[in-house]
Point group: C2
Chain length 168, copies 2
DNA sequence: TAACGCATGTAATACGTTACATGATTCT
DNA sequence: AGAATCATGTAACGTATTACATGCGTTA
């Protein structure tokens, strides 16, 4: 049940409305987990029922701000430390990079160039968000973007450039 | 419908039984896509119905070997070239590496050391498989393991070592 | 005041996992 | 002969996507 723990983690980093959680899944967590609002709202209701999250405030437009309870924090900690991780992945981008070698070099290069453009744009966006976060001098919680420290984007860009070169 | 195209791609690399496809999902494709036999067999039936795959031979124990049809090859090519990729991912490992900063340094280090041990073991296994494949001098199709060329494992190992050091 | 973005929710459908079920072949 | 592995299939349940549905608050 990773969705549950993703939400607990995002809420522990900072309380949020369901709407804001949806945005954080798109921005912060997009290389790790994905969820839409139609999954998030029902899960928040279940978390409340289980005593793991609670509404700590109401705002305009019937919005409700959620936070993790002590039991929720405990559950998240338990999951991180004790639960054996599932190593399964579903990553359509990686699947395509794997299958692209079935194409003729010309077609392959075209596909890989589209991928390179995407990764470079995404990397630039993440860096801009990270810089913005640092400039605001926020402490505690997450940097908004997980990938900044991972080095994955540089690795992917280097790999794509190499494959494009070799398909020439 | 990535499952469909993952299967078409694996079959284009080499014909296989449903059972062998299940193994290839576990070994070759484990960092890109995951599927169990209970999903693979029904999908093969659908591919046959759609004229994208066909049975090209029967073996012992009622096994049936599947291959891609011309229409299937065309569909795979179309998907790779024309279909806009979905960038959504579900990767529990990445989620955990993101959330691990919510733990106290001691606990975090313990979790990250477990992760490092896992990644190093996986990397060694993948390299062994790749070496074996190269030694057999196979040509055409895939190397069995996608990750060998990607450089992701080195990047992940370096990141984990750095985080473990910083949590000290 | 109209359009846009914020904000929440549900229903139908599709996709994926777990568990159940069975039989064939090979190895010890 | 018995155990292990190969090999296929389905049913029940859980998870995720798409589409439908509604209303509030701000901005042009």
């Amino acid at each position: 049940m990773s969705l549950r723990h993703a939400i607990l983690g995002l809420l522990e980093s900072a309380p949020a409305t369901g709407y804001e959680l949806t945005q954080r899944f798109d921005i912060s967590l997009n290389t790790a987990w994905h969820a839409r609002h139609s999954q998030i709202y029902p899960e928040l209701a279940k978390l409340e029922e289980a005593g793991l999250a609670e509404v700590i405030g109401e705002g305009p437009r019937n919005s409700r701000t959620w936070a993790v309870t002590d039991a929720g924090r405990q559950e998240l900690r338990r999951w991180l430390i004790e639960v054996e991780p599932s190593r399964h992945q579903r990553n359509e981008t990686a699947l395509r990079w794997f299958l692209v070698f079935l194409l003729a070099p010309d077609e392959r290069r075209a596909v890989l160039e589209r991928e390179l453009a995407y990764v470079e744009r995404q990397y630039a966006e993440l860096r801009a968000l990270g810089d913005q976060f640092d400039a605001e001098g926020k402490t505690g919680g997450f940097r908004p973007v997980m990938d900044l420290g991972f080095g994955m984007h540089e690795t992917m860009i280097a790999w794509l450039r190499k494959q494009i070169e070799e398909a020439r």
